[in-house]
């Protein structure tokens, strides 16, 4: 089965796969929340750290904004890759069980 067709296939995943998907969602959520909490904690309680110059007139705070956005996009990409992988594994197990 082609990957694309497999991902649209209706199947029943094993308990192990379902558990891994829940953990995946929880881990990525925790990483995002950690990064955002750290940003706002520094912004509110250690503003001098964000004012620190890192390159010319660009402060750490200014570098952090695109940094956080890039991190979120990378996490998102990793997440959909893993989730697609779990779907494919479930299809493989399902096909094996049915045959």
């Amino acid at each position: 089965m082609e990957n694309h067709a497999a991902l649209g296939h209706v199947f029943t995943p094993s308990a192990a796969t379902a558990g891994r998907r829940r953990r995946l969602s929880a881990i990525f959520t925790a990483m995002t929340l950690l990064a955002v909490t750290a940003f706002f904690a520094v912004f509110c309680f250690y503003p001098e750290l964000m004012s620190m110059k890192v390159a010319g007139h660009m402060s750490l705070g200014i570098m952090l904004e695109p940094g956080l956005i890039l991190l979120a996009i990378m996490l998102g990409f990793a997440y959909i890759r893993r989730a697609d992988g779990y779907d494919l594994e479930s299809v493989a197990v399902d096909t094996e069980t049915q045959s």
């Binding site: 649209g8 995002t32 503003p47 007139h57 890039l70 996009i73 989730a83």
Partner: protein
Amino acid sequence: MNGQLLSPLSLAFFLAFLLVTAGITWFASRKSRSTSEFFNAGGRVGPLQNGLAMSGEYLSAAALLGMTGAISLKGFDGIVYSIGVFAGWPLILFLVSEPMKRLGKFTLADVIAWRLDRKPIRIAVALASLPIVLLYLITQLVAAGGLIRLMFGLSYLPAVSFVGMIMLCYVFFGGMLATTWVQIIKAALLFSGSAVLVFLLLAHFGFSPAALFAQAVARAGPAITGPTVLPTLARWDTISLAIALVFGALGMPQILTRFLTVAHGRDARRSAFYATGLVGIFHVFVLLLGFGALALIGHDDILKAGGAGNMAVPLLARLLGGDAFFGFICAVSFATMLAVVAGLTLAAATTFAHDIWAGVVKSRSETWMDTGRDPHTQQPRVARTAAVAVAIAAVLLALRFEGQNVAFMVGLSYSIAASANFPVLMLALFWKRLTTSGAVVGMLSGATVAVLMIFLSPTIQIEVLHKGLADVEKQWWFVSLRNPSIVSVPFAFFVSWAVSVMRPQVAEQHGFERMQRVLES
């Protein structure tokens, strides 16, 4: 400044947008005959298209003009909003994109009510969601009226009425399909316009962001690139604002219902990822444009242009791209407002037709979810009627609020979404012991506490009711925090938990296991 920015090119670009979207609406009206076609475009929207439409739903004129203006006037302090609202997007991807698609049909209430008693949940979700959408809609219309006056020289009444009429046409005739394509076109125009402006800006500085920031610092001082040291109360207020912005996105009905327009869970994940990427890139543009406007135009000239910094981007466009590009950016800003208000009107009309009319007023003991077919084929007609009522109410309220500071309404909208919808949605999806009573009481108490705290805060008491600080701060009821979410979000979680634990429902817990099987299938 009124009317001075009127340009035939702006009008030409804007008329072209209207013509294209009118054509799409006509095409969509021929396609949107069934209930499913009207409410979720038949579930046939592709992931990239939906990602664009979702980002279009979120990227209002406030994002392009307001956030850039805030950065150009306040420097780094203006970035807080940007990070707060962006951070909600990856969480939407990880937590709600798939469950929304797998459990929902037309609205957010379908998901929350999946394993609970549907009637009370639908009423509670509608009571929370309609104010969220209406407050946001009124804010957009008031801002649209003001900006059209600034850009095109139209007076407030015809400007607001015109926007109201166009948004109604999109929703009334084209439903979700037309609204989706209007969002896609608007998002594409917004991204391409912003990207060209960023390119011109960076080219001006020899493609060196360091040179751009150096000029901004030379013009406004070194403090502009760092945060202001906040007093203790303002620190907690900022954290409270961050909670509202981050978690509010996960409770916004007009964004969440977009997951229902794709074919399956995988497409829902992908559309959330595309939207995250697009919104993220847009926020980097906003950062550069804000500091670019500060560097090239200067704080005082941006303020003089009026609109509390909203003219920073159009002025920068005129400086770097001439009158033609300025006209294009003005037309894009107007198109942005139109698309956002159309999405909001559709969300409000769908909530009324599907949750209140079909789910409560006309509901039977056995609903379409049990039988597998929808007996309420009149829902699109009811939604169209509701859209007319919503449009009239929103325009009348926008006229009533002319010239007033309505910025608090966006905060209120995000606070209600974070305090009412977000906690209960999370508990419904991830906590087995949530009961119908827990969900209803949690949702309503979260919304009530958020509204009450904002009403008793300086935002309303001082800025809207114009009372003296000295008079109100001595009152026992006065709430010093401007943003309630640091209290109202945990409160809603606590109330839902306490009520559910006090009166456990075994049948609803079994429903959770069934729901998990659907989510994992």
